[in-house]
């Protein structure tokens, strides 16, 4: 079984996100480090998936509503203005499923067997997400045009196993 410390989560996140944006959205992104999960746009959506097994953890993507609409439009091949909120939330959920699915695969390939949850989304303008007690916590940001989204992953060993 691999040591969680040896896994390069930032590269996993960056590669998976680049692949998704390139393949399904035809959008180029720039990846950079960031110190908090705060984004400038007030209205935002957080897409999350969880891992459970020999390791437990979660992956969150924080994205402003405007950027989320742009992403949804690109993924569905529609004008962003034509996409309703339900569709935007579904796209962010699917985005987190794909990024989280890739991280889960890297964990399993490293011998850290776990399952992936179905994605959930949280949206609003006045909430924070804080997590504590994780063994590894990695975060990065992506930029496309003037829009920024933040992607985080939290992992720890499951001591109940």
């Amino acid at each position: 079984m691999a040591d969680i410390n040896s896994l390069d989560f930032k590269t996993f996140l960056a590669n998976a996100t680049n692949d998704i944006f390139d393949t399904m959205l035809s959008m180029k992104i720039e990846v950079f480090d960031v110190s908090s999960n705060a984004i400038s746009e007030k209205d935002r959506i957080v897409g999350s998936v969880g891992f459970a097994g020999e390791v437990i953890g979660c992956m969150n993507i924080h994205v402003g509503y405007t950027f989320a609409k742009t992403i949804a439009g690109a993924m569905l091949g529609e004008e962003p203005t034509n996409i309703e909120e339900e569709g935007v939330l579904d796209v962010v959920g699917e985005l987190s499923n794909m990024i989280g699915g890739d991280v889960k695969s890297r964990l399993c390939d490293a011998g850290l067997m776990c399952s992936l949850s179905i994605p959930t989304t949280t949206s609003g303008s006045d909430f924070t997400i804080e997590t504590q007690g994780w063994f590894r916590h990695e975060r990065l940001a992506i930029r496309s045009d003037q829009h920024v989204a933040i992607i985080e992953v939290y992992v720890k060993f499951n001591n109940s196993n």
Binding site: I20, M24, D90, M98, G101, K104, S105, C108, S117, I118
Partner: protein, 247 residues
């Protein structure tokens, strides 16, 4: 004949992407949000192909696949699995389950079509097919009357096709000063919900444009229509001539 494709995915986004990928081809798409709905639809529609997600609520794609493979009527339907997980163990498990192929997300619609074309030859929808004007199959004009002749059996596609023409046909009539519309039901041998809905649509469309509508049909049909509250008041004449003289 159109290829029947069933997409089972809890994400509307993925279902839409799959639908768009098949759009240029002669395919009939069915959608389900989870394995339970997927199994029910598969049993009912007997699709030629199933595009199946793995991680879904209620019943996962893996569970649905097990049930498909256990059903003698459904086990031979080719399945392409979609998964967000590219790990070695996951891929091995999918292959062992007996799927025809699998795709790891992210994917492009074109890539999915490439996989499907290894199983089936997809027929592209031709422009001619898309642009055929079917209105002349149903609508004729005779002595200042517009006549809509319905076929023997009204299916949903037939009723959608006719409903799609109704607006233009009635507008043409009104623009040309015609105000008499005859709904010819004499060929109809089966009364079903599509027929009832279509009759109502025709009547309402005519009423909205102040076009007088009369119908023509057999005695059996007239009696049958009287049993439905929606069409119980419909006046059904015996012949086109009788309808014309009654205007």
């Amino acid at each position: 004949m159109a290829l029947k494709v069933l997409t089972v995915d809890d994400s509307k986004t993925i279902r839409m992407i799959v639908k768009k990928a098949f759009n240029p081809y002669d395919c009939e798409l069915f959608e389900a949000e989870n394995g339970v709905e997927g199994l029910a639809l598969a049993g009912r529609e007997k699709p030629d192909l199933i595009v199946l997600d793995i991680t879904m609520p209620v019943m996962t794609g893996t569970e649905m696949l097990e049930k498909l493979k256990a059903d003698p009527l459904l086990r031979n339907i080719p399945v392409i699995m979609l998964t967000a997980e590219s790990g070695k163990d996951n891929v091995m498990q999918i292959v062992k389950m007996g799927v025809k192929d699998y795709m790891v997300k992210p994917f492009k619609g074109d890539q999915l079509i490439e996989r499907v074309q290894k199983i089936y030859k997809l027929e592209e929808k031709t422009d001619a097919k898309e642009e055929i004007d079917t209105s002349n199959l149903y609508f004729t004009s005779d002595g200042g009357c517009k006549i809509l002749t319905l076929p023997q059996k009204i299916t949903r596609p037939v009723s959608s096709d006719i409903e799609g023409h109704m607006g233009n046909q009635v507008k043409e009539m009104v623009d040309g000063g015609q105000k008499k519309f005859i709904l010819d039901l004499r060929k109809v041998t089966e009364i079903n919900i599509s027929l009832i809905k279509l009759v109502l649509h025709v009547v309402h469309t005519c009423q909205k444009s102040n076009v007088t509508v009369r119908s023509v049909g057999t005695t059996a049909l007239r009696d049958g229509l009287k049993e439905f509250s929606e069409t119980s008041d419909l006046i059904v004449d015996d012949s086109i001539d009788a309808a014309k003289s009654a205007f």
